[in-house]
Symmetry: C2
Subunit: 556 residues, 2 copies
């Protein structure tokens, strides 16, 4: 039996586009005598439609799409994902379902059992868990169809205290009574830089535990903050990968499941995990930018180039995503800007082949100071005046955006966002934060990777100079913050690993005062991050939708 | 038996403050020979701590607080709410629990069964539902203790299609086998202008259905966007209210449950529902402002007075919440500002007795235009130049805030936020949106109410003039938008009632083009609202945390 894995890039709510993509693949499969083609979780509507799921019209359209797709199935059967209405009298209104289509008929609807409701996932907000465990019998094969998290029955609970198992049951453990020949998992699993390996391990473990091959189909592409990396694959019952789709690209591959044991295991490419991590972060962020623009109908970006490493890396990513002709950069010096901040930026813009515009904002800065001089009489300059500069730049970028239709890319990194070393309505402006989930030390690694890949596109001086916001004479980031290698270790332990101050001290051996200082900065800047643009998520715990902290609260 | 209802205002994460408040009440109760004192849901930590619940230290501190509180119970027993650790091997790590404390001992922990996971509620993100149904036996009485949503077993699912019942079981239906004498419900139920009546109906219905009296204890005060209205009460088994705590205030009342049937029913005050609604909105917003400042340690506010109704109402609310001496207002005219916008604002500031500062921003505006003239050469003026004005004002407000420590209040209303008739990083600035959940037509009603209450504090001309953003010559809101009475009806049907275009046409009889135009504006402005300040929630569907729409998506 030939099964096709269709790894596509769906657009949330764009049911016409999604069904066209799905139907095109079904037609292709039909032509090459594929028996079954498998699409990913919620492929009909895109993952995740969030509260669009509460709209009647939206659900009706999903059913319409399903019927249309179904009408194109002839000799090739298909499995697609969509929300369906719960037929029971009580419980959540919807199921997160897999529809098995064959010969123009909806043969079966199966539902997701384990509904992730943590981090960026809110599935229990919408869906009732499955409690009927059926399998699909098709052409002498029995398929245990599972949906994404259904294979993650050993998922741990958050945090690091006490018990660990999040779910109370295991769909495969229940389904095995039907003696399936194979597991199919349709997935909407977003990328994070530790997810790809973890996911593969889960699949291996399940294949070996149940002695069953697994066909895993994930989506690719990005929907605002969530980036999907694809990596669909087939694992044989010995736990070896025998087929693998590309990462961060649409892909379509066929496997003959009668010959699974004859296929040689695919070896992992010979690359260090750390190098692979950075390479994938580059791919993820490029995908994130590209799809934000493509799916929202924009093509041109603008960003402010400061001469620092963040805006340089952001530009290099934007150029990879959109092409140099679609990116404008603005240089907005004041009296506090160093000579090299201009010259490095100009050099960077030239190497990237993008249009740059120098708008000196010194007079504007001065005009604000004059305008406020009466009301600020007898007050010393402080962070107010620094913020004014950042906010003028934010305004100029938005004016450029309003006038020419370029979308502003935000260039702040995760370290800054964590400690609030950013100006609200200034350098926090933008439609999309490109680096907001990347610690400063990772931004450096990414810069080096990009320079290897793109022929030293980032001038060396931008990478080697000490980080500075240049908002007052001689300012350096480490005047107010610990060095980034220290800061980032503390932040990672606190945010990603959820360690407390004592544990962080134990792990890092850093001074307690420094740790307390950093944690306090993180906690007292929730109000700023609340108003941040959406952040492209590449870690297991990004600021934004997946990390919900109260604003008005007393922290430790 | 004497039972005390303790309706307190808790501060999330401020375990010391909360336990001090609880202990003080226990001591008071002890002195007046109260048998049992009841506090509200998650009273130990405040509702809702959100992802603070994922921190080990936080949970440990909740247990420490519980032990401390417990040590103060002697002859008076107490019921408090807190998160506790799920002792089962599998499932969510925590329960949302009620602890029954007596004689210095934790006698019993009971858990919440129905976990709201919709709108602003994410309880299943953290909590495992209860599946052990026990009651508390104390001094010859049997109490069925329920937690908030546990009484809402007939909660409907969202939207308006198909089936309606959200929950699969009914805690009271199960608990009745124990033949309880009374129901206790500890609650963390936020205010919305249709919630108070609905809540009372649910309590009446349950009392009558089970023929049991109900003691209902809710919290009061606000935590960022959520405002709790209190209104704790006792219902007898005939469904009559026999005791009622204040709304929007801390309160403490004692009832003798041996005499429940002898107490006369409390009549509802004789006020029209619509008048009561506006009166409560005023109370809610004042509470929201007051607690935002108090709980985040700030005392002073600043806002921009435009001469329009929104900023005037916002000022009147801020003055009620913080006192006139704690509020500064800025008037920031340009060449497009009408004469009356200044004179009305000055008059408003004087009537409110607040400090006002006139900062003419015309030269700054001109300076931006000059600065951008080269890059904007051959481009006609458009919304860019209008936004520049709004953003200068935003900057000046933030500069004032940075220099003097006054927190910026955002003055946009819900109608504007819905259709994106606001400037990101301009008039969308602020730490807290005061009117962001109030449609423009309700802002007018609130203005009239405030003028009745506060001796015409808002000058008549501010209420009667046609709404205008004054960002270009002769501009009026209804140049670009339908009249607000039409707009608001469409918005309410779409946002609160989740109707689709065809249904809205059916309800309102408005022109289809107008409806489509409005819905399109709502859908295409998700990106703006994503970066909005937190909004004080007064409706059943506020923008922000309770309404989660994808940004990059195709809508109808």
């Amino acid at each position: 039996m030939k099964i096709a894995l269709a790894q596509l890039n769906y657009h949330i709510g764009n049911l016409e586009l999604n069904s066209k993509k799905i139907i095109d693949c079904i037609k292709t499969a039909e032509q090459s005598n594929v028996d079954l083609i498998v699409f990913s979780e919620l492929s009909v509507c895109g993952y995740s439609p969030l509260d669009m799921l509460e709209q009647k019209d939206f659900i009706n359209k999903c059913y319409e799409s399903l019927n249309k797709i179904c009408s194109f199935t002839k000799n090739t059967a298909a499995i697609v994902g969509l929300p369906t209405i719960n037929q029971n009298n009580r419980g959540k209104k919807l199921h997160n379902s897999a529809a098995f289509l064959y010969g123009g008929e909806i043969k079966k609807l199966l539902h997701k059992t384990l509904l992730p409701t943590y981090d960026v996932f809110d599935e229990y907000r919408y869906f009732e868990p499955n409690d009927i465990f059926e399998i699909i019998e098709f052409k002498n094969y029995k398929f245990a169809v599972t949906i994404c998290e259904d294979l993650w029955d050993e998922q741990r609970t958050f945090g690091n205290f006490d018990r660990e198992m999040l779910y109370k049951n295991s769909p495969l453990e229940i389904l095995k009574k039907h003696k399936p020949d194979m597991v199919i998992n349709i997935s909407g699993s977003p990328y994070s830089y530790n997810q790809a390996t973890h996911r593969q391990e889960i699949l291996f473990k399940n294949a070996i535990k149940y002695s069953l091959p697994i066909i895993y189909v994930n989506q690719t592409g990005a929907n605002t903050d969530l980036i999907f990396d694809g990596g669909s694959m087939v694992i044989n019952s010995a736990g070896n990968t025998v087929l693998k789709c590309e990462y961060f690209e649409e892909d379509y591959k066929i496997i003959n499941i009668d010959q699974l044991n004859e296929l040689p295991p695919i070896k992992n490419i010979n690359i260090s995990p750390e190098k692979l991590r950075i390479e994938n972060i580059n791919k993820a962020l490029v995908t994130g930018i590209k799809d934000y623009f493509y799916k929202s109908g924009f093509s041109k970006a603008v960003l402010g180039l400061s001469g620092g490493i963040d805006s340089a890396v952001c530009l290099a990513l934007a150029v990879q995503a959109l092409g140099p002709e679609k990116v404008d950069v603005l240089l907005m010096p004041t009296i506090y800007s160093s000579e090299h901040s201009i010259s490095d930026s100009v050099e960077m813009a030239k190497r990237c082949n993008v249009k740059y515009h120098i708008i000196n904002i010194e007079e504007l800065r001065q005009k604000y100071i004059d305008n406020l001089s009466e009301i600020f009489a007898n007050k010393q300059p402080d962070v107010t005046e620094e913020n004014i500069q950042a906010r003028i730049r934010g305004n100029i970028l938005m004016a450029f955006s309003n006038k020419f239709g370029n979308i502003v890319l935000n260039t702040s990194n995760k370290s800054e966002a964590a400690v609030g070393y950013t100006t609200l309505y200034g350098d926090m402006n933008g439609a999309l934060s490109v680096l907001g989930d990347l610690y400063k030390t990772d931004v450096y690694l990414l810069a080096e990777y990009i320079n290897t890949k793109l022929d030293d596109i980032i001038p060396k001086n931008i990478i080697t100079k000490p980080p500075s916001a240049e908002l007052r004479p001689g300012q350096k980031d480490n005047d107010s913050l610990p060095e980034y290698n220290i800061l980032d270790k503390i932040l990672f332990a606190y945010i990603e690993q959820k360690k407390n101050a004592a544990e962080i001290e134990e792990i890092t051996k850093y001074n307690k005062n420094i740790i307390d200082f950093v944690l306090k900065l993180v906690n007292t800047n929730e109000y700023k991050r609340y108003q941040s643009p959406p952040i492209l998520r590449v870690s297991s715990k990004s600021f934004g939708f997946g990390r919900r902290m109260p604003i008005v609260a007393k922290f430790n």
